[in-house]
Symmetry: C2
Amino acid sequence: MCASGSVTCVAFSSSEWPLSASFSNALCALLCLHSADIVQKANSGHPGAPMGMSPAAFVLFTKVLKFNPSNPKWAARDRFVLSNGHACSLLYSLLHLTGYKAWTLDVLKTFRQLDSIAAGHPENHFPGIEVSTGPLGQGISNAVGLAMAERHLAATYNKPGFDIVDNYTYVFCGDGCLQEGVSGEAASLAGHLGLGKLIVVYDDNHITIDGETHLSFTEDVLKRYESYGWHTLHVADGDNDVDAIEKALLEAKKVTDKPTMIKLTTTIGYGSAKQGTEGVHGSPLGAADIANVKTKFGLDPAQSFHIPAEVAAAFNHVEKGAALEQAWHELFHKYQAAHPTEAAEFQRRERRQLPADWEKALPHDYKPSGPALATRKTSGNTLNALANVMPELFGGSADLNPSTFTYLEKFKGFQKDSYEGRNVHFGVREHAMAAIMNGLAAYGMFIPFGSTFLNFLGYALGSFTLSALSGFQVLYIFTHDSIGLGEDGPTHQAVEKFMLCRETPHVLFLRPADGLETTAAYIAAIRHTHGPTLMALSRQNLPQNAGSSIEGALKGAYTLVDCAGKPDIIITATGSEVEIALTGAAKLTDLKVRVVSFPSWELFEKQTQEYKESVFTQGVPVLSVEAGTVMGWSRYAHASIGMTTFGASAPAPVLYKKFGITADNVAEKSIKLVEFHKTHPVAHLLQRPF
Amino acid sequence: MCASGSVTCVAFSSSEWPLSASFSNALCALLCLHSADIVQKANSGHPGAPMGMSPAAFVLFTKVLKFNPSNPKWAARDRFVLSNGHACSLLYSLLHLTGYKAWTLDVLKTFRQLDSIAAGHPENHFPGIEVSTGPLGQGISNAVGLAMAERHLAATYNKPGFDIVDNYTYVFCGDGCLQEGVSGEAASLAGHLGLGKLIVVYDDNHITIDGETHLSFTEDVLKRYESYGWHTLHVADGDNDVDAIEKALLEAKKVTDKPTMIKLTTTIGYGSAKQGTEGVHGSPLGAADIANVKTKFGLDPAQSFHIPAEVAAAFNHVEKGAALEQAWHELFHKYQAAHPTEAAEFQRRERRQLPADWEKALPHDYKPSGPALATRKTSGNTLNALANVMPELFGGSADLNPSTFTYLEKFKGFQKDSYEGRNVHFGVREHAMAAIMNGLAAYGMFIPFGSTFLNFLGYALGSFTLSALSGFQVLYIFTHDSIGLGEDGPTHQAVEKFMLCRETPHVLFLRPADGLETTAAYIAAIRHTHGPTLMALSRQNLPQNAGSSIEGALKGAYTLVDCAGKPDIIITATGSEVEIALTGAAKLTDLKVRVVSFPSWELFEKQTQEYKESVFTQGVPVLSVEAGTVMGWSRYAHASIGMTTFGASAPAPVLYKKFGITADNVAEKSIKLVEFHKTHPVAHLLQRPF
């Protein structure tokens, strides 16, 4: 950045490379101030990192990155991820300066205000932002997914002379992102996979919120990344040495068999009176200090958000971006002529159109007379059937393929010598698996899936929440979903995870009871395009229930067994407990009983009031049966059978008995509930005042 | 392990070191078979790792580990953690063979059966088991906490000539534990802190569930641990070379300024026909293969669970352990004479007794006329006041001290040159923070605390669930608990985390509304000795509410403002929304309104039915107000104001308005609710059939 005061803004055209040092400095200074001004205007935000990273951002966005501001979704663009999302004022400045229409100067002035696209942390819903960042470690891990996406599509669609898929993924991150375990998991996998087109610029600014990094972070970061199989570089003077930054980026691009980590040693808040301290991390500089910085860099301290025309022209990427995209379209048209089938499929995936008749590929022929099957098994069959007709299905397991049945039998493993493979061996890395799925979804053209035992959602929750918040269509195929897994015991048995999924916005949660409901679960998941789906699947075998139907399950809740006239009681259950509810109901020969299978609250909520009331009839008490926490069921049920403690280690049938989730207990409690409501009114749970 | 068939079991006394190679081999073979027999008997479990790790286990438990089987809780014992908990049949065999009374041969035969202490994965509730493991990566991370505990207590209580605290922490782990991000976070911190008495033995057996490690895990593990600042060693033949294993352990013990990672290359299921494959990981060997293994090692294939007397004697550690403990007690008695104050405090902490009058140290003098304060701030004051009288309070922040106010002002940072410090700089490592707290709690003599923003509970959930399952008294002091944090936006705003805490067994969840309720929260947390407490605290300032009381808050829910006679409506709220409920209620001049502050569901559930009904009077509709998901509130409320979506980025007051959590809306919805119930019966939510 600027070493001394005086700055000359010279006229500039995009062909004048290399820039003179003084001009580079002017741009850097501007960027830094721009970012600081934004934070100051909002009187909230993080100026330090944007200021320190400005030189690198300048080089990347004006000299290296392939993008078209007029079409933020251009398929062949390089991907840029600001993993240290709190530095977003820098990104927003760049999006404005390079020419994204949505990112006007007025928008920048609404930083952190309601309904502004200049949100407190970058949100993927807005132009030019690939993934939502802020929670540390996510962006860099998403980037591994973005880079995997590129490698897989390139291996799948590129043909000799037609590198239609050929982009890099760049990441900016800070110390915080590298301290988080999720990034370590993802980086280890990226090294294993040899993702050579992934380039990370690490802002080594020695400062965290608590103070200097020597308080908690003294490891040798580059050595660690080398141990993962990465190529590493160091730029010693990230504040000033734009040439070295450019050289490092170009060198990184040349190493295509390993991801690159560039350590960029910088001064946080460079130029501020508080530079190099945690004081500049998370609070505005204040008017006096901003004036001081501007004066120091030879700019007018009286002006804010001021962009000289020459500088605007220097950053503007509109023409160059349009030319880049145009060239790609020309290539693609030739590709289309030479390889029409591949081109059509590529475009179909780009448009997120589903292949014709995809639903027909699914198993529809389960019969009550057929064999009992675990829903993890029916899921495996369904996933494989779908994957055969939907190349966008791509994913794998966190080292539990033999248990979760998510291996796509007809396809190879995704490895550095077989990027065309569609089975990802994520390793025992649940958090990175989820973060990588988010990256794959963000790239576009993928419906990623990942599997593990349901309880290990706890490891992945940071990224799962972001799947939901980002509205990414990601399939969490999580098995061994309750005490029904038996002997592995309480460390492996989910108790509270069903409700956690149900209460998380945008999540479609499904707990199918048998084969047909599993098919329904996949149909719903493929239709649920703007959020993640989590399927909770059984380890144990379950019968094919009489009355089970795909159509019914797609309504979320439906009647499996009914009685004549108004029931005395409705017993509702999900997943593996439907069988128990049915057996319990059959014992209630003196009562009129309806049994409702309830695989998905979210699907049920979307039905008409009339349909809802046809399932849960007003005035009839409802008993819920589910091997998860009973908390939350008061929304639909007047009483519940379920878990109020953690599970235990024993064979599954023994555990069901221990925790009272049995047909006998269903019958007994049903009678009690009916008795109780002879003297207590039955609340109508589906009718609410607001 | 045994290289060839014939085995001679020679007589043995514990002084006969070194053992002859053949005798070592006999013991190893026995251990391996023992572990395999256990799994075979249960017809469930994981024989591979126990067999592969038997030689190392043999060396550690007979030659290195300091412990007394007759007193599993002896304070000065070395700690052993089986991080790859699925290998627990090995641990259970060791506990039996070394002489833990509870671990009889009959108990081993109940492996994975209901109520057996030989549970499917090790549970800390049972003798000889320090921490519950099974979810990978946890044990090794807990061990960092165990090792920190030792360093801190040694620095605090040891005096010249009196090393009363002086133990090592040993860990066995596999590839899976090292792939998990949480272990990377913890290992980086362990290296930073120079925890020289932490020794990890890594079972490098090349196999994961999906197949060979080359599918997903090809990093250079030792280089990675070196980058963290660890001392590393490699034993190339972990199957046979017991001398090399012993040498490595002794060498590791000598390096006291760095933790040590010993990579032990082994063959999974060594001796089995399926050795070296994933087939031996998670399923019993089968009778034929066990017979084959036994024959191979020169043992009688017809016998199971057979322990020759000589071998039993060789492992038996009862006398040696008693002598070790006796020697320590003698030292401690002398210490007691020389340093009575320290000894008394040490013993008080060992007994988990609280210091006299600890409650008096807490702030009790908040008044409605006093200043509005964020509960993160009142928490900071309370925590500091408590820490001054309770040396067992030890912890810190995941790099958010300036925001969460959990720095103990009168004490130093816990660093390698100041282990007496009580402020841990966890770094941006939420998951490791929680795992380390579990380790500190497991050591005993600590009430650990950790802080971050509430939403980042999602990063730590794997360990949080284990805090609960393990019944560890751990304080999660989590701030910025809702949309009230404002501009940082939805990535930072918890929506579903309150209910997640409430539905997790053993968790005490508290959301105090002001200073007095914060004091109550700490009282409840200190009293909640057998599970974690999570406090959700505000970023924004909150008034000191009229009617607020410590006594009331300790009942979980209590009336803040009441009306004469039976109310028309009860408005209940938690934390930062209590103020809004009060203001809303004040607008309802035409209704009789009661306002209930409801800081803790768990505390309320423990009250008498009479008390509960005095708060939530039968027949009166209840409106809940909380800036979290409304799901779950149907347990106590007939209607709810709260969140049904994720938050947004804007100043907090703007967000409260956007999401309808305002006094005006409280008033409006109260009227609606009262109107609604003029024609609908009011369900009595506190009276249930079962």
